[in-house]
Symmetry: C2
Subunit: 254 residues, 2 copies
């Protein structure tokens, strides 16, 4: 079989600490695994290790909830310290019920709890999303270049829930060196007629594919995808926020 797409988890990374070079850690892990990184690869990195490396970690005990968080906490039966963080990290609350709190983050992503997450963290700590995940992706790409002399596409991914469908899928929250959205409008279908509504969120599909190769208990924080070269760009490109975020006025579900 000559597979078109191959995905390898890069699981052998040490615990990531603030200040670490994620790109260097990934390059070292690939090297130990005998995997040669190439420009044509795409590296999908879990946002959790990016957040850790960037110091985007908060100790709940150190958070002083303001009045808005306290009121929301009473209404939703949630921890006011966590809600204080959600409010700080969000432009708007999209939906708030006791079971689910969906926010639009400062970086423009709509997700539960503004992406703030306690899993796979030491007790009492939570991870915020990277403040600018596209900048994170560009930095990791530069770190990979410095460490291994390669410039693969980089995707920063996180697991998001979605309306109408059970469960979460990994999606892209940042990218560099990748056409995040492949726009087929104007091109022809198999019968030569112009496609009018086919815009493919390639970066999200890469994130989802990479998650299949990972294991939530082992916590493999990155994966290498081979075969996605057709979407690679040499320059870092506009990133995910500029291409994957639906403008609020076009979005029917705000």
């Amino acid at each position: 079989m000559s597979p078109r797409i191959e995905i390898e988890p890069l699981g052998d990374l040490p615990e990531v600490a603030e200040g670490d070079s994620v790109g260097a850690l990934i390059a070292a892990a690939a090297n130990r695994a005998g995997v040669a990184l190439a420009d044509d690869d795409a590296i999908v990195v879990s946002q959790k290790i990016v957040s850790k490396a960037e110091g985007r970690v908060r100790r709940l005990a150190a958070v002083a909830p303001g009045a808005e968080a306290a009121a929301m906490a009473a209404e939703l039966d949630r921890d006011p310290r966590l809600l204080e963080l959600v409010l700080n990290e969000s432009r708007r609350i999209v939906r708030a019920t006791p079971g689910v709190l969906i926010a639009e983050t400062n970086s423009g992503w709509v997700c539960a709890n503004a992406g703030i997450d306690a899993s796979n963290m030491d007790e009492g700590l939570v991870a915020l999303l990277p403040a600018d995940p596209d900048a994170s992706a560009r930095r990791i790409r530069a770190e990979l270049d410095a460490a291994a002399g390669v410039r693969p596409a980089v995707v920063v991914a996180d697991s998001f829930g979605r309306p109408w469908r059970v469960g979460q899928c990994d999606v892209a929250i940042g990218c560099a060196g990748l056409v995040a959205v492949d726009d087929w409008r104007g091109r022809a279908d198999t019968r030569g007629r112009e496609l009018t509504a086919t815009v493919i969120a390639v970066a999200d599909q890469l994130a989802a594919a990479a998650d299949l190769a990972r294991d939530k208990t082992s916590g493999a924080p990155a994966a290498l995808v081979r075969g996605a070269a057709s979407w690679r760009t040499d320059d870092d490109g506009p990133g995910a926020a500029a291409t994957l975020q639906r403008a609020a006025e076009l979005d029917l579900f705000r």
Copy 2:
């Protein structure tokens, strides 16, 4: 590199006609490509060829719009014959604007235009979604067994848009022999603490991954995914509708 996941498009299928055995066509295409199918594989099939095989194709010129479709067409500036089909195929309209019409299909999926699609069809024809995509997946699985003596997992996939994010991703609308939703609640994270909100839509991630290996102009209608055996079930299982559809009362966006 020993990839955890490998994806191979199965593109060499003939044009599918009503009554064709999709499983037999896929088995033959794999055979011609020198690809040996195995129980542990997952076959992701584009809904379009399933619909064609099931006769779920309509000629617009033969559709007589009713009053509701005519009124909606005037309001939304859309083809009333297409809207008549959307209404017939839907339980409810979720959102209707001149640019976007989102419906909950009779089979319970929420998507634009009830999944009705003119692309890659002969002039004047549109394809409806399969009436029961899980039944389609079970049938294809049985056809693969009959043709090739194997029982891989089968996913019927389609490209859906989503709120808040630009573009479409492939998702599962039917499956057989697959744990469509991998529920990690009750299991432990890397620090031994119980995961409380991690439910992974594996079938959707498989669909998205498979789409990366396909090419919208060549129209490869199926893909083989190797490495997803941990989610395979020997019995056909409950399917996608029973596991992936969020109950309306739990869904904040109806």
